[in-house]
């Protein structure tokens, strides 16, 4: 294991494992969001369950660590890779040889981080932060969600964030398995297909919650 995480492949391994962990979290979060379709009682009951569940309490710092590792290593890898080409090409046409999202994972990541900050400010700061620093949590999380998404600018910001995530997942999902080495000529096609399906499920699922809340509630 010596020097594993200082090697170029080791750094990408951290990106892959933390990315796959966050991918699982995204699905769980999306399913929980969908309880909004069940009305105020269902949604608030879900929030109450999440607030009191010991497993969730343990997983919150683990989740934060997942985000931090993914973001910090993304910065380290990106800076290192830019240094590998000190003189840039005057003309470079990569559109024929690689996908747009694969070349812009860092930029997409920045958009997702901006969305994450907005999201934490909107909800986490009113629903969970108080468990750590004291104070009153929002009485009805459901009302909080409805009031935030009633603002079209906020709703639009969330949709932009979710579709940046769609791009990010299209590449990140299969790329993670490639980096871990769980891929070959057959599986690389399968992972790319699964990545597309997964990215669509996540993006449509999250968008549906925002659109439904904005239009119907």
């Amino acid at each position: 294991m010596s020097n594993l995480f200082s090697s170029s492949i080791g750094k990408k391994l951290v990106m892959s494992l933390s990315g796959l962990f966050l991918i699982v979290f995204l699905l769980l979060h999306m399913v929980l969001n969908m309880t909004v379709f069940g009305g105020a009682e269902t949604y608030n009951a879900m929030c109450e369950f999440m607030d009191t569940n010991i497993f969730i309490k343990i997983m919150v710092p683990v989740l934060a660590a997942g985000f931090i590792f993914h973001i910090v290593y993304a910065v380290i890898v990106t800076i290192g890779n830019r240094g590998a080409r000190p003189v840039r090409y005057r003309v470079q046409n990569l559109s024929k040889s690689s996908t747009w999202e694969s070349r812009n994972m860092f930029v997409l990541g920045l958009i997702v981080i901006a969305f994450l900050v907005l999201h934490l400010y909107d909800f986490w700061a009113n629903m969970q932060l108080q468990h750590f620093v004291g104070g009153e949590v929002a009485e009805s999380p459901y009302d909080l969600v409805v009031s935030r998404f009633a603002n079209p600018v906020v709703a639009l910001c969330y949709i932009i964030g979710v579709w940046a995530l769609w791009f990010h997942l299209q590449h990140g999902f299969w790329s993670a398995f490639q980096t871990i080495g769980l891929s070959n000529q057959l599986w690389i096609r399968r992972w790319k297909c699964v990545a597309k399906v997964y990215a669509w499920i996540i993006a449509l699922g999250y968008t549906a919650v925002v659109v439904y809340t904005y239009l119907c509630l």
């Binding site: 890779n81 090409y89 990569l94 490639q178 980096t179």
Partner: protein
């Protein structure tokens, strides 16, 4: 065909370099790209100017010497070819063609369009080989190898070490080059003996020489003149991570 060429000129490794423009006239569409550069150099010599330095050797797509980043693509606007196999019919009369050297911290420019690719040799010297005792010629088929493994090893062995993977990768990564060698040996029993040491030594050398890391864009596979698959990179990752876990 009449063409305008925008070519990177650099006197030596220390020079900062710049683009210079030239025109070539009456070029046949059936001329190869390197022959077109020969014609340009002939004109420059007649005018008493310094000809453009560029790498070339076999001119039949197997030596890997010709490089050139042409109009934004390694080996120019065609697929599965080296620059010597590129023909002027791929361009239009009146085009302006931008010609640059491979750009990588690990491939410093020596002069004009010529870069030093000895970093590849250093990676191979670190572990891209098998150790064999000298002696008589071994019997053919003494070590049976499944056909599928032999085929995959042979596909990886098609790498000619041209450096197009590094040149086109947005990170200047040498992972496809290295993966081709690791994969070619990993699929054969003769290569398994030193597999653990090989993956670690080659990756360490690649990182040390200033190549970037792989972010799986797949551009290397698309621009590789031999069409080497990035699935070999997955095998390299597997070999490297398993080797590290054994430490």
């Amino acid at each position: 065909m009449n063409l305008k060429l925008r070519i990177w000129r650099q006197k030596d490794a220390k020079d900062s370099g710049r683009f210079e423009e030239y025109t070539v006239e009456n070029i046949s569409p059936d001329t190869s790209f390197l022959e077109m550069l020969d014609i340009l150099n002939n004109n420059l010599i007649h005018e008493g100017k310094e000809p453009v330095a560029f790498d070339h050797d076999c001119r039949e797509g197997i030596c890997g010497m010709c490089s050139l980043f042409i109009d934004g693509r390694a080996h120019g606007p065609d697929d599965d070819i080296t620059t010597c196999q590129l023909h002027m019919r791929k361009f239009k009369d009146g085009d302006t063609i931008t010609i640059e050297p491979w750009r990588s911290a690990a491939f410093p420019v020596i002069k004009d369009l010529v870069v030093d690719r000895s970093a590849f040799e250093k990676i191979l010297q670190a572990g891209g080989f098998i150790s064999v005792n000298t002696g008589g010629v071994p019997d053919a088929n003494a070590i049976p190898i499944p056909k599928a493994d032999a085929d995959e090893s042979m596909d990886a062995s098609a790498c000619i070490g041209c450096g197009a993977c590094v040149a086109t990768c947005k990170n200047g990564s040498a992972m496809l080059f290295m993966a081709a060698r690791v994969s070619a040996l990993a699929k054969l029993p003769q290569g398994r003996v030193e597999a653990t040491r090989r993956a670690k030594a080659m990756v360490a050398k690649m990182d040390e020489l200033g190549f970037g890391g792989c972010t799986n864009t797949g551009a290397c596979e698309a621009e590789c003149p031999k069409g080497i698959s990035i699935s070999h990179i997955a095998r390299l990752n597997r070999e490297f991570l398993c080797a590290k876990l054994k430490d």
